[in-house]
């Protein structure tokens, strides 16, 4: 009886300890920020190499398929990719099929444009060096439409400039003219972009997704429908490392290491407790 009464209190106390431990495991290492050595994964390296192989003036489409809730994992990827494009002179075409993603997509473009000036000494201009197309509804139909007629799907960019005759979109009539499609997604759009975008237009595709979505990408990666992918914050950190421009991805690696180790220790501790309790009960039953 006493055990049953003390159980909820024990669990309540444990829950609070876990919450405080997780909070400290995230906050303290994030501010400590030491230099860390880690090897970028092969999947991220393939995406980096593909962007690196593009020539100045080539087009890369970035679909922002995440909203502010996934900002922590996916925003560093957006920034790293855009910085890479501006560094190389590749023209990014940024768009989103989600209304809640417009602000975060614009924020990424604005920040990367400012970085291009301060980091590479380049003056990047909207409509000439990049284009932010904003939002259009339809999702899969939008993808199909872009495959047939990109300027028909987006007749104006986010700032109201007509896409017809826009310098940044010179030579681009449909997805077929894009050298690489990158889907940064926290929603189930990767499969749609593969089926309705990249496969139909026969263009290479890469993705950046939240860590929980990453295991779903392996079948597409093995079948070469994806040339590579950035998985979670680690994917962003790997890309930043390859680009040699540190960002929030790399900065979050120590916090992620400490948190993962803490969760592993908690799980192991709970299992040791369970086995010890079982042994004790068996011993008591025998005696």
């Amino acid at each position: 009886m006493s055990t049953n009464q003390s159980r909820p209190r024990y669990y309540e106390l444990t829950r609070r300890i876990i919450y405080v431990s997780i909070a400290l495991a995230v906050i303290i290492p994030y501010f400590y920020n030491p230099k860390q050595d880690f090897s970028p994964s092969i999947e991220v390296r393939k995406v980096y190499d593909k962007v690196e192989s593009l020539s100045p003036g080539d087009h890369l489409l970035i679909s922002i398929d995440y909203d502010p809730s996934s900002e922590a994992e996916l925003y560093p990827m957006s920034l790293a990719l855009l910085r890479h494009c501006f560094k190389k002179g590749v023209i990014p075409i940024v768009m989103t099929p989600w209304p809640t993603s417009v602000g975060i997509a614009k924020k990424g473009c604005d920040e990367a444009v400012a970085d291009a000036n301060s980091m590479f000494g380049k003056k990047v201009v909207s409509g000439k060096d990049y284009v932010f197309l904003g939002f259009r509804p339809g999702i899969t139909n939008l993808m199909l439409k872009m495959g047939d007629n990109l300027k028909g799907a987006f007749d104006k960019d986010y700032y109201g400039q007509p896409t017809q005759g826009m310098k940044a979109l010179a030579g681009v009539s449909s997805l077929k003219n894009v050298k690489l499609l990158v889907d940064l997604a926290a929603m189930g759009t990767v499969e749609w972009w593969i089926a309705y975008g990249a496969d139909k237009a026969d263009i290479p595709m890469a993705t950046g997704t939240t860590a929980v979505m990453t295991p779903d990408l392996y079948p597409f990666y093995q079948s070469n429908q994806l040339i590579g992918f950035l998985g979670g914050l680690r994917g962003a950190a790997d890309y930043e490392k390859l680009l040699k421009i540190p960002g929030r991805g790399e900065r979050g690696m120590l916090a992620q290491s400490v948190t993962h180790v803490l969760i592993i220790l908690l799980i192991l501790g709970a299992n040791i407790h369970m086995f010890a309790s079982q042994l004790l009960r068996k011993k008591e039953a025998l005696s």
Partner: protein
């Protein structure tokens, strides 16, 4: 009956078959049909947002009017929605809340960056606490299958973070054993399981689509499958 059932079913069948067939016909008419249909669906998609807005408003007005549990939160839905819509309209390039100088952001962007992004990210980040607590309470090696799952989870969790490379270096003479083991788990058992699940889902989607096209599945028309 004919207007409520038969004609909608014929439209679904006709358009569904055309949309399916056009994919295999490389004729200009086929491409023009797809172009027209995608434009139509994008326009319909735009109007669907108004429907969503009405549905959301109706639900929360009902909650407030009936003073259902938690009705106070519904007031915040309207404060947030009206606030963002108003600032969005008046923050247009020539609006009174638009950016004044080159480096100033307009009020809509300010609200998005300083309210929506932090609030959404905070709510999502709470998951980390629940996941840690849930893992501690439920992730137990009660049998062989659960034990294997536990071992795989620990290897993947540890192998995905940079500290595993440091530990591997110490334990295995600079060979990346733990990260490679983590990658092998993702590359083979995970891939096989995911592919199986995806094939199952794809077959389910195909059969469900056929049921809708042939008028066997009618629940999307409302009133169940009568």
């Amino acid at each position: 009956m004919i207007f409520k059932r038969t004609i909608p079913l014929l439209i679904v069948f006709g358009i569904g078959v055309l949309a399916f067939v056009q994919d295999y016909v490389p004729h200009p008419w086929s491409t023009a049909f797809r172009d027209e249909m995608t434009t139509w669906t994008m326009v319909i998609g735009g109007f669907a947002m108004f429907l969503g807005l009405y549905s959301l408003s109706h639900m929360h007005v009902t909650r407030i009017r009936r003073q259902m549990p938690g009705w106070g939160y519904s007031i915040f839905v309207f404060i947030g929605a009206i606030g963002m819509i108003a600032t969005g309209i008046f923050s247009d390039i020539f609006g009174p809340l638009a950016a004044g100088t080159k480096n100033e952001v307009d009020l809509f962007d300010w609200g998005y960056d300083n309210i929506l992004i932090p609030c959404s990210a905070t709510v999502f980040s709470i998951l980390a606490f629940y996941m840690a607590s849930a893992a501690f309470r439920t992730f137990r090696a009660r049998n062989l299958a659960a034990g294997l799952l536990l071992a795989a989870a620990i290897i993947v969790m540890f192998g995905r973070v940079p500290v595993s490379e440091v530990v591997s270096g110490w334990l295995f003479n600079d060979r990346m054993v733990i990260p490679n083991l983590s990658k092998a788990i993702m590359d083979y058992p995970n891939l096989a399981a995911k592919r199986g699940i995806m094939l199952g889902i794809a077959l389910g989607v195909i059969s469900q689509s056929m049921r809708i096209l042939l008028g066997i599945e009618r629940s999307y028309m409302g009133g169940g499958d009568r």
